[in-house]
Amino acid sequence: METLDAIFSRRSVREFADEPLEAEKLGLVLQAAAASPSGGNLQAWGFVVIRDASRLAALRSLAPGVIGRPAAAVVICLDSGRANRIGGAGGERWAWLDLGLATENMLLAAHAQGLGACPVGSFHREAMAKFLELPQDVQPVLLLALGVPKQKPESPGRRSISEVIFSGAWGVPYEE
């Protein structure tokens, strides 16, 4: 799949087929995360992969935003310790942004391989940290539900380009 096709045809997939996830495909999704851009090359992130069925069921009980039954979940974590140690006073701020970049990379890598995925922010952070045995200075920020898609969702709609893209200054209409 071409990059632009992947960007424009990707949808958040919440319903998954009861099929296993190919290890090779999951591996590429994870490699895509680790290859993401990172401010100051901090890479103050960590990704916890859950594949075991009973662990996934347990994770769903802490994450109401995981609506379907994914074949795997990746919990995207911020390593504040590393961000502060290496990145200075603003390190953590950049590290937060990096997590967004890594998430998009994973979403596109999943979609490009015919997988479905959905970023999920609705989960209990402290409970998740406990469940994953995260160190004190590591926190879960987002999680990715992944699997073979059982649905092909329609686009929920986007704000118009003229509403969000400006030329030269805020509010000045952009023209091609």
Binding site: E15, S61, P64, G68, F123
Partner: protein, 106 residues
């Protein structure tokens, strides 16, 4: 063994309810009705997995599934919940109809 699995499924549902309730303090208002409907869907799944369902409940479960995974608006969800509640009420009437004998006793 069967009870043990049911107990575990319900244990996980309790966790889901608690973390949902906590999460709703910080989430959009429309998430509340959605979570409650999702809870009904999860409970119906458990009932089906443990042979506790029936054709009416399976039908309701399917409709909930359509909403759970769709991209409908809050208004659409409200209308669907209204319909489901009314269908439930019809079933309720059928299942809990007072017989003439019961009426005499009261």
């Amino acid at each position: 063994m069967k009870n043990k699995i049911l107990q575990q499924d319900l244990f996980l549902l309790v966790g889901y309810l608690l973390t949902s309730a906590h999460g709703l303090y910080d989430e959009p208002a429309g998430y509340g009705p959605f979570r409650l409907m999702d809870t009904a869907g999860r409970l119906l799944e458990i009932m089906q997995d443990h042979d506790l369902s029936d054709p009416f409940l399976v039908e309701i479960q399917k409709e909930i599934a359509t909403q759970r995974f769709g991209t409908g608006s809050d208004e659409r969800l409200k209308a669907v919940l209204d319909q489901l509640s009314l269908r439930y009420a019809e079933q309720l009437q059928e299942r809990f109809q007072i017989t003439e004998e019961q009426e005499r006793e009261t």
